[in-house]
């Protein structure tokens, strides 16, 4: 079993991503609203806030998806389908996908 985390920076791709997660039967995926560290810094640390204003940088938000995936090959196939559908995590502004083995899990595993 693996934990897969996707940080989607380009929120325009969310619809496609969610559809693909459902297609892969990853129903227990949780989608969270996220914010880039620069945003948080600009909002909480006065020094960064001033710098942020100087460069006029846009605020960066994201969607973070967390789910468990039974097998590693599902993650590989998922990434391949995402890429085919225009969600290429190797591109700069798409976001990132990471996965790691899950050492301990308690929760539902059934598909239905």
């Amino acid at each position: 079993m693996y934990i897969m985390i996707i940080v989607l920076k380009n929120e325009k791709l969310l619809k496609k991503l969610v559809s693909t997660l459902i297609e892969f039967e990853l129903y227990d995926c949780t989608v969270l609203d996220g914010e880039g560290i620069e945003n948080v810094a600009a909002q909480t640390v006065p020094l960064y806030s001033a710098v942020e204003g100087l460069f006029g940088k846009e605020l960066v938000y994201n969607k973070t998806c967390i789910c468990y995936v039974p097998d590693f090959d599902i993650i590989q196939r998922f990434e391949k389908v995402c890429k085919k559908d225009g969600i290429d995590f190797s591109e700069k502004n798409t976001g990132m996908l990471m996965a790691f083995p899950c050492a301990y899990y308690i929760g539902p595993k059934e598909k239905e």
Binding site: I22, E23, F24, E25, Y27, I74, R77, K111, E112
Partner: protein, 148 residues
């Protein structure tokens, strides 16, 4: 991932020459429920009156579906029409997917529709479905499943 061929075979693909909504739906439901005894089929159809919902997927495809517990699994029928028809709101359609699903299979159904819509966006889908050739349609789905 669900495999479309687990739910679709040549028997479930029908040619529709009818041009009226009710007659088309009747034919699709007959194909969808072909494995049920006649009495059960009548009972299910009665329950389905007014429940079928149409979703125009664009590009000539339409989905007509309902959730009901009188069926034990997801049942699919595909109607291929020789000419496009104004079947529901939106653009004219030429291929109709009729799907019945029990509530207990809601998640599988979601995956099925997600997978189906991706297949329909593949190159060559329109050509396969408008060919009116059941074998060609099944071959297209098989190719999609093997290579996607």
């Amino acid at each position: 991932m669900v495999n479309l061929l687990s739910f679709i075979n040549e028997e479930h693909i029908i040619i529709i020459n009818e041009r009226k909504h009710e007659a088309i739906l009747k034919k699709l439901l007959d194909a969808c429920l072909m494995d049920y005894p006649a009495e059960k089929k009548v009972e299910i159809k009665r329950e389905l009156i007014g429940q079928m919902k149409d979703v125009n997927l664009g590009k000539g495809y339409c989905l007509t579906h309902a959730r009901l517990d009188a069926v034990d699994d997801i049942h699919v029928a595909i109607g291929l029409m020789p000419k496009k028809l104004k079947y529901t709101k939106g653009p004219a359609v030429q291929t109709i997917f009729c799907i019945l699903t029990p509530h207990s299979k809601s998640r599988t159904y979601l995956s099925f529709t997600a997978h189906l819509t991706r297949m329909l966006s593949e190159q060559g889908s329109r050509k396969a479905f408008s060919s009116l050739d059941k074998k060609q349609v099944v071959a297209f789905i098989k190719d999609f499943e093997e290579n996607s």
